[in-house]
Amino acid sequence: MSDEFLSGLREEPRREFSERLAQRLHEIDEARASAPTPGALRRFAPALAGAGTLALVSLLFTLEPVRAAARDFLDLFRVKRFAAVPVDPARLARLAQGGLDFKSLVAEQVQVVVKPDKPQVVASPESGALDAGIALAQPTSLPRGFELAEAAVGRPGSFRVQVDTAKLEALALAAGADEIEIPAFWNGATIEIALPPVLALRYARPPDPAVPRPTGDGMVLLQSASPQVQLPAGFELATLGRLGLRVAGMSAEEAERFSRAIDWRSTLLVPVPVQSGTYREVEVAGRTGLLVTYLPPAGSADAGPRRLRQQALLLWSAAGKAYALMGAGNGMDLVETAQSLR
């Protein structure tokens, strides 16, 4: 009596049963999609949250340095370029284990000025663009079988961040970044961040009654005006950016070199985990975009089939707008789709 013999009782589920259940699951998806509840908008949530957090990342990493101390406030930050910053999650975990409370360091300093709204489904991309106050861009070429599935507008809100120099010094100390001096006059300064409405367009293959489509199937295109960041006078935010780079795992020399190499005025840094992420620059309609892919971490204990696909995020900027395109795969579809935006 071998394993093969013992496995010999396995049967294929009947086709009519399989199709009936697939149809039932498809109905569940449809019911969720048509219900005017936040749940129906969950498919957009990761993308919109990504957009919001992306803009918030600028708080730590991508803020314009003060060029003229006499100015009352700095120019608004404009995203023109994206650059990847390798982040070692294990290092962050070690810092946390060492007693560094990231939550109190960051979250307690953030005050919500305008509460973020849940994304709302809109009737069409055109009405969504009108709602978001942006000129609409849509792909003229999509992966085979894809079509517009849904449009929504999210309002990430606006935030005020109050600088606490004691906490920043604690952060620098924990990160071993003692070369970074936090100016005492920063204490109590406030930074205003306004995140503009984001138009999200989801493209997917049309529903097939025989096969249920996954919730995250397809690709999501996000577009918005650039986030606006107002800084108090005399605020040397490149320093804060260097601190962020050091926390992320760069050496003092690397952080200094990196800091000198980028234009803090217009570059948004995107953290990419060193173990599971890859990134490279790609050209999108004559602009330099950043393609980030996330790989399934190795070492899952179960040897059974698990169809976990690589996910890609393409970021670029054009005509005063920031774009993000997200989807499964290695990102080549995303680049082609991005090239076709009109």
Binding site: S7, P13, F17, L21, V57, V106, P212, P214, S300, R306
Partner: protein
């Protein structure tokens, strides 16, 4: 809070991945169904319980976290609970039949297989609950010993030992009765 969202981006959330639920459905449907068949349910009941499993999973899949368990393990966890709930409510399990015998076989082969299937299922039906479930997970669902350990709370080595012993006992009973 905005800061928490920032942290979520900075730390592990950047490792998020998409689960291809379409592929999950195709791959896992036979595994869940056969787990329930090996578990002792007739075909109609196994189909009902498979449906219940996938409907529960479908409604909850936004909450699935791959870092906690492989999707196959997650689905089998739901299937186990669905089966347990059913057994609590329902009549005693009906003995398994030989409805899985392939009709495309020759009459002689089909008859031989049917007899073997009936016999094997009788033997499986006589096993204690725990051993039967382990065999259902191993041979019905095709789960690894490690996944079975995660599902049942037994250690991996304990799973291996129990399976080895149970298959040995089944083999002995099979041999006692002759090849047919």
């Amino acid at each position: 809070m905005g800061g928490e969202r920032l942290l979520a981006w900075l730390i592990p959330a950047v490792e998020r991945e998409a689960v291809d639920w379409e592929a999950v459905y195709r791959e896992e449907l036979p595994r869940v169904f056969n787990f329930l068949r090996y578990r002792g349910f007739d075909r109609d009941t196994a189909e009902d319980l498979t449906s219940a499993t996938f409907e529960k999973a479908w409604r909850a899949r936004d909450r699935y976290r791959r870092e906690r368990a492989a999707v196959s393990t997650w689905l089998l966890t739901i299937a186990r609970n669905v089966a347990i709930d059913h057994l609590r409510r329902a009549r005693p399990e009906r003995p398994l039949d030989d409805e899985s015998v392939r009709t495309e076989d020759t009459p002689e082969t089909a008859a031989l297989q049917a007899a073997q299937v009936r016999r094997l299922r009788r033997l499986l039906g006589g096993l204690p609950e725990r051993e039967r479930e382990l065999l259902a997970l191993k041979y019905g669902a095709g789960a690894t010993n490690r996944a079975i350990a995660a599902l049942t709370g037994l250690s991996e080595s304990n799973v291996g030992t129990i399976l080895h012993r149970t298959v040995g006992a089944l083999r002995a009973r099979w041999d006692e009765g002759g090849a047919q």
